[in-house]
Amino acid sequence: MTFQSLWSHLEGYVIIRVTGRAVEDFINEAYTSGVELWNLQRIDERSILGHVYLRHLPELGKILKRTDCRGRIERKIGLPFLMMKLSRRKGFAIGAILFSVVLYLLSSFVWFINVVGCDKMSPDTILEFVAKQGVKAGVLRREVDSTSLGKAILAEFTGLSWVGVNIKGTTVNIEVAEKTLPSMKSGITHLVASEDALLTNMIVLSGEPLVNEGDTVTRGQVLITGVILPPYGSPGETSDKRHVIHAKGVVMGRVWRTWQGFLELVHEYETETGRLERAGSLSLGSHELHVGPGRGPFETFAEEKTVYEVPFPSWIRIKPVIRITTTTYRETERFVEITDREEAFDNLREKAYTDVKSRIPEGAKILDEREELKYSSIEKKWVYTLTIETLEDIAEERREDPEVGH
């Protein structure tokens, strides 16, 4: 929209149809008496269409009379006409204004309160507290002081380390960070072996060691216990008097991890050829309607069945069982692959190494790697064994509830 057309919209203009024997006279009369005409178009031999400003209409009427032409307003365009329409439809105008006012008023209230970041605590307890402080749905926005509210929440709940309150639109967002308290307060924590190992050395920081350096331990065996019994013979030698602590320590041990596999040169496997057939059936009770091949259409194939039971709304009493079964048959082909001995061995080694290495935890020190290829007369196959020996901290924490403890 150009500036000119914007201006003419503001001023208001009409599209007028002028009919007469000498329309040209009308045009000449109009511009000489200062009436602006634009976008004149010939409609037929006797009439033209033209645009005229609203303010020129009274003058135009006189010119029409003088030049013996008739004018008819075809369209009214612009703001003045819009206003006229609006003033005629007062109810609508009032409604529009009322709507804006109500929207403005409603937007100055708080309607929603969100609590974010609650893990252990229930957001409802915070909402309850906040409501007691006077922040709830329906409160004026400017009555909510976000900083003091945040401080109040922080003071009320000891389990929180940080509280942020911000108001966005009609929503109060309360962001909360909970303190993460150490979990050693209650219960016994033992250190147990994470793997079968041979202990090399051991540093006990707290707790009672149950094993010695040089011992062989099995996975899950308690290495350092968190239960300290009073010394033998002391007066309080009952289970009630036992001292419960969080066992801590470093237990280094040698761990052997192995992987075993057969060296096979002949592989048989199946692949899909891509050809497939579909069959479907619709069954109602014992009646069945079957479409497609009945049984396996290929020599070798894989079968895939999906059964869909048509559900019925709960208000239908007698429920007929309608099942739609679709079966997909995929043709398969058997392949036999003979690999080169060297290649097969390399593949096996790679598999062994990736498998064993993935089981070694971070920080473990590799002491030794041993490979072995032996012919097994029972299996009549070559057996490959990889053993990796590591030195690592095998202590693993295990918590125990005090009630269950011994």
């Binding site: 040209e24 045009i27 000449n28 511009y31 634009w38 976008n39 033209g50």
Partner: protein, 100 residues
């Protein structure tokens, strides 16, 4: 200009002044100034009114005679005391003006 040189004294005093000072004629005389933009737009300055308007032709009066524009779908985009703007497909421009 050549015409006035071969026939001295044929124009009025105004014309001679215009020639002497090398002024554009349309600024002093009532000679129409016609600007054609492509074949879609035409502006006539110094006009004296419309004689005939149809969608196929528009005849405009000027001090030196009539200017007739022929074409298709001709519309008068604006008309004021100083100029007339014509839009449409202009095919022919007839300047049956008197000499000078």
């Amino acid at each position: 200009m050549n015409a006035s040189r071969t026939k001295p004294g044929s124009g009025g005093a105004k014309e001679r002044i215009a020639e002497f000072f090398e002024l554009p004629r349309d600024s002093i005389l009532d000679v129409p100034r016609i600007v054609v933009v492509g074949n879609a737009e035409l502006v006539i300055e110094n006009h004296l009114g419309i004689i005939e308007y149809a969608s196929s032709h528009v005849t405009v009066a000027t001090a030196k005679g009539n200017v007739t524009v022929r074409g298709n779908d001709l519309a008068i985009s604006s008309i004021t005391k100083t100029l007339i703007g014509i839009r449409g497909t202009i095919e022919h421009l007839d300047l049956s003006l008197s000499p000078g």
